[in-house]
C-alpha cells in the first residue's frame, strides 16, 4: 500500500511538472522566435504571458465575452503590445549591442508590469477552466482537464510553428532572416517587417501560455519576471534558437522543479531548476541541443 501511494505521488509530481513545463516551453519558444530573427533576448517575454492571462480574465469575467471570443481578443491585444514593443523600445535604438538590448527589454518589461499593476492592482485573478474542473482520476493520479489543454496547446503551437517555418513563404522568409539577414535583404525580404512579425508571433504565443496557465495557477501583475527567467532558462538549456530544444528544456525545468519541490525542500522550488541550468551552462555552454555559434550578433 505504502509503495503504491509513493508511486502515484511520483506520477502526480511528474504530471504537474510536465504541465508547468509545457508553459515554460511556450515561453522558451517565444524567446527563440525573436532570437532567431534578431538575436535579441526579449526579457519582456514573461510580461506577454502575464498580460495574456489578465486580459483574458478581463474580457471573459469582467466584460462577459464568451470564452472563445475573449481568447481571440486577448491574443490580438497582446500581439499588438508585442508589435508596439518592437517599434517603441527596440527599433529606435541606434547603436544596438547585446548589453543595450538586454537593458532595453528589461526597461520595457518594467513598464508593462507597472502598467498592469496600475490597471489590475496587486491581487491575483482567477479564470474558469476551459472545460470545467472535474478532475480525471487515472490510477491514483489526479489530472485536471486544464492540464490537457496546456499540453494540447503546446503540441498545437509546436506543430503550427514547424509548418509555418517549413511550408509557408512568410515562414521561410523569417527563417531566411534568421540565417543571414544581409542575404535575405538581397533577395527582397523586408527584414524590418520580419522583425516586427517575430515580436507579434512571440507575443501571441506568450499570451496563449498565460491564458492556459491562469485557470491552474491564477495570475497577477508580478508573475512575468519569474516566467521569463524560467522560459529563458528553458531556451538556454535546450540551446538558444532550437524549437525542439525549447520544448525539451521547458519540460525538463518543469519536472526538476516539481520533483525537487515534492521530494526535497519545497522552499527551494525556484532554485533547483536554476542550479541544474547553471551546471549545464558551466559544463556545456551551448545547452543540451545547441550549436556553438553563440557569439555573433546581427545588426539591422
Amino acid at each position: 500500500m505504502e509503495t503504491i501511494s509513493a508511486a502515484s505521488q511520483l506520477f502526480q509530481f511528474i504530471v504537474t511538472g510536465l504541465t508547468v513545463g509545457a508553459i515554460y516551453a511556450m515561453v522558451a519558444i517565444g524567446f527563440n522566435i525573436i532570437y532567431n530573427v534578431t538575436e535579441i533576448i526579449n526579457l519582456a517575454q514573461g510580461e506577454f504571458v502575464m498580460l495574456g492571462g489578465l486580459i483574458m480574465v478581463f474580457m471573459h469575467v469582467t466584460v462577459g465575452l464568451p470564452m472563445i471570443l475573449a481568447f481571440v481578443t486577448a491574443v490580438l491585444l497582446v500581439t499588438l503590445t508585442g508589435m508596439l514593443l518592437d517599434r517603441l523600445a527596440i527599433k529606435p535604438i541606434r547603436q544596438p549591442s547585446v548589453m543595450t538590448l538586454i537593458i532595453a527589454t528589461i526597461a520595457a518589461s518594467i513598464v508593462i508590469k507597472g502598467t498592469a499593476m496600475l490597471i489590475w492592482g496587486k491581487s491575483p485573478y482567477d479564470l474558469p477552466a476551459f472545460s470545467g474542473r472535474t478532475p480525471i482520476e487515472l490510477g491514483g493520479v489526479i489530472i485536471q482537464p486544464q492540464y490537457l489543454w496546456v499540453i494540447g496547446f503546446l503540441v498545437v503551437v509546436t506543430i503550427g510553428l514547424t509548418l509555418f517555418f517549413n511550408r509557408t513563404i512568410l515562414g521561410k522568409a523569417m527563417a531566411a532572416c534568421a540565417d543571414n539577414p544581409d542575404a535575405a535583404r538581397l533577395v527582397g525580404i523586408n527584414v524590418q517587417y520580419m522583425v516586427l512579425l517575430s515580436f507579434a508571433l512571440s507575443a501571441a504565443i506568450g499570451a496563449i501560455a498565460g491564458m492556459t496557465l491562469t485557470p491552474i495557477a491564477l495570475m497577477d501583475y508580478d508573475r512575468g519576471a519569474m516566467l521569463a527567467i524560467k522560459g529563458f532558462g528553458a531556451a538556454i538549456l535546450g540551446g538558444l534558437g532550437s524549437f525542439s530544444g525549447a520544448v525539451l528544456g521547458g519540460l525538463l525545468i518543469g519536472l526538476i522543479e516539481s520533483l525537487g519541490a515534492g521530494f526535497l525542500l519545497s522552499g527551494y522550488k525556484d532554485a533547483y531548476a536554476l542550479i541544474v541550468l547553471l551546471l549545464v551552462l558551466f559544463l556545456r555552454p551551448s545547452g543540451i541541443m545547441g550549436n556553438f555559434e553563440v557569439t555573433k550578433f546581427k545588426r539591422f
Binding site: 532570437y35 533576448i41 517603441l88 523600445a89 529606435p92 535604438i93 541606434r94 547603436q95 547585446v98 548589453m99 543595450t100 538586454i102 537593458i103 532595453a104 528589461i106 526597461a107 520595457a108 518589461s109 518594467i110 513598464v111 508590469k113 507597472g114 502598467t115 499593476m117 496600475l118 519576471a225 527567467i229 529563458f232 532558462g233 538556454i236 538558444l240 525542500l265 522552499g267 527551494y268 525556484d270 532554485a271 536554476l274 542550479i275 541550468l277 547553471l278 551552462l281 558551466f282 555552454p285 553563440v294 557569439t295 550578433f297
Partner: protein, 317 residues
C-alpha cells in the same frame, strides 16, 4: 578614457566634504546627507560594476547577491558570534571573493546572453538561500540588532559621521579602480572589450583578467552590503533581490557605463530619484524607472555623463 582628469575629482571631493555642512543650514535639504549615505553605498557597487560592464564588457544581472553576502556576513557574524564588525567586513569580502572566483571562473567563459542568464540565475539562487536559511538569516522577516560601527572608541553613530565614513570608503574604492584601469590589467580589459580574439592573440590571459575584475566588483559590493547592514542595523532578503541587481544596471546605464564618473553620477541621481523625487509615485515609481531607462537607452546611449559632450557637438555644428 585612460587619463582621469584631476579637476572633476577635486570639485567632487570639495562638494562631498562641504555638503553636510550646507545641508545642515538649509531646512529643505536637511535630510539629504541620509540620502547621500545610500548614494555612497550604491556608488561603491556601481563603480565595480562599471568596470565590469563598461570596461570589460561583461554583463552581470546578479550583483545584488554579493551585496547580500556582505550584509549577511556582517549581520550574522556580529549578532550570533559577537565578532568585531571590521573583521566581519573582511570576512564578508573574503567570502564574496571566493564565491566570485568559483562562480566567475566558469561563468565568464560564457558570452552575451548566456552570461546574462548565468548571473541572473546565480542572483536568484543566493536570494532564495537568504530567504530559506531562516536559522541563520531570519528568513523573509530579516534580522535586526546589527551593531553600528566604531573605531578606537570613536563611534559612527550619527548620519553625518556615517556619511563621511561611507564617502571615504567610496574615495578609496575610486582611487583603487583608477589604478586598476591604468594598470596592465585595465589595458587588457579594454582590449578584451574591443576584441577577445585580438586580445588573446596578443598574449592577454582573458579569463584571468575577467575574473580579477569580477572579484574586485564583488568585493566592493560586499563592503557596500556590510556598510548598509551596520547603518540600517536591520536587513531582509528583499533588499538583495534581482530587482536590485537590475536597479544597479539602471544606475550605470543612467550615468553612463563607459566611465567611472557615470557610475558615481548614476548612483547619486538614482538615490535621490528613488528616495526623494519619485517617492510621491509610491509603488508606481517602477513605471517611471522603466520609462527613464527606455529613454536613456534610446536617446542617451552614453548616459548622462555623455550629455555635455553631445550638447557641445550640437553647438559646434
Amino acid at each position: 578614457m585612460l587619463r582621469i582628469r584631476k579637476a572633476p575629482m577635486g570639485v567632487g571631493a570639495i562638494f562631498i566634504l562641504l555638503f553636510p555642512w550646507v545641508a545642515e543650514r538649509l531646512p529643505a535639504i536637511e535630510h539629504y546627507p541620509d540620502l547621500m549615505v545610500f548614494a555612497g553605498i550604491y556608488c561603491l557597487m556601481t563603480i565595480g560594476m562599471s568596470l565590469l560592464m563598461g570596461y570589460a564588457g561583461q554583463i552581470s544581472l546578479g550583483h545584488a547577491a554579493f551585496y547580500g553576502i556582505g550584509a549577511y556576513a556582517s549581520g550574522i557574524l556580529t549578532t550570533q558570534y559577537n565578532l568585531n564588525p571590521w573583521l566581519c567586513i573582511l570576512i564578508g569580502s573574503a567570502a564574496a571573493t571566493a564565491v566570485a572566483v568559483v562562480v566567475g571562473a566558469p561563468s565568464l567563459r560564457l558570452r552575451g546572453h548566456y552570461l546574462a542568464m548565468a548571473t541572473l540565475a546565480f542572483g536568484i539562487i543566493i536570494n532564495i538561500v537568504f530567504r530559506e536559511e531562516a536559522e541563520w538569516t531570519g528568513g523573509p522577516d530579516g534580522m535586526g540588532g546589527i551593531p553600528g560601527l566604531d573605531i578606537f572608541g570613536y563611534s559612527f553613530d550619527s548620519i553625518h559621521k556615517y556619511y563621511y565614513l561611507v564617502w571615504i570608503v567610496v574615495a578609496i574604492a575610486f582611487f583603487f579602480t583608477i589604478r586598476l584601469i591604468q594598470s596592465p590589467t585595465g589595458r587588457a580589459l579594454r582590449a578584451i572589450h574591443a576584441s577577445e580574439a585580438a586580445a588573446s592573440a596578443m598574449g592577454i590571459d582573458i579569463s584571468r583578467s575577467k575574473i580579477v575584475v569580477f572579484a574586485f566588483s564583488a568585493i566592493l559590493a560586499s563592503v557596500a552590503g556590510s556598510l548598509y547592514a551596520h547603518y540600517m542595523n536591520f536587513i531582509n532578503p528583499s533588499t538583495f533581490d534581482t530587482l536590485f541587481s537590475i536597479k544597479l544596471v539602471i544606475m550605470i546605464a543612467l550615468g553612463g557605463m563607459h566611465t567611472i564618473w557615470g557610475a558615481v553620477v548614476g548612483s547619486v541621481l538614482f538615490a535621490f530619484l528613488s528616495f526623494e523625487w519619485l517617492h510621491q509615485f509610491g509603488e508606481y515609481e517602477i513605471v517611471v524607472y522603466g520609462l527613464v531607462l527606455m529613454m536613456v537607452t534610446i536617446y542617451l546611449p552614453e548616459g548622462l555623463v555623455g550629455l555635455p559632450g553631445r550638447i557641445a557637438q550640437r553647438v559646434r555644428r
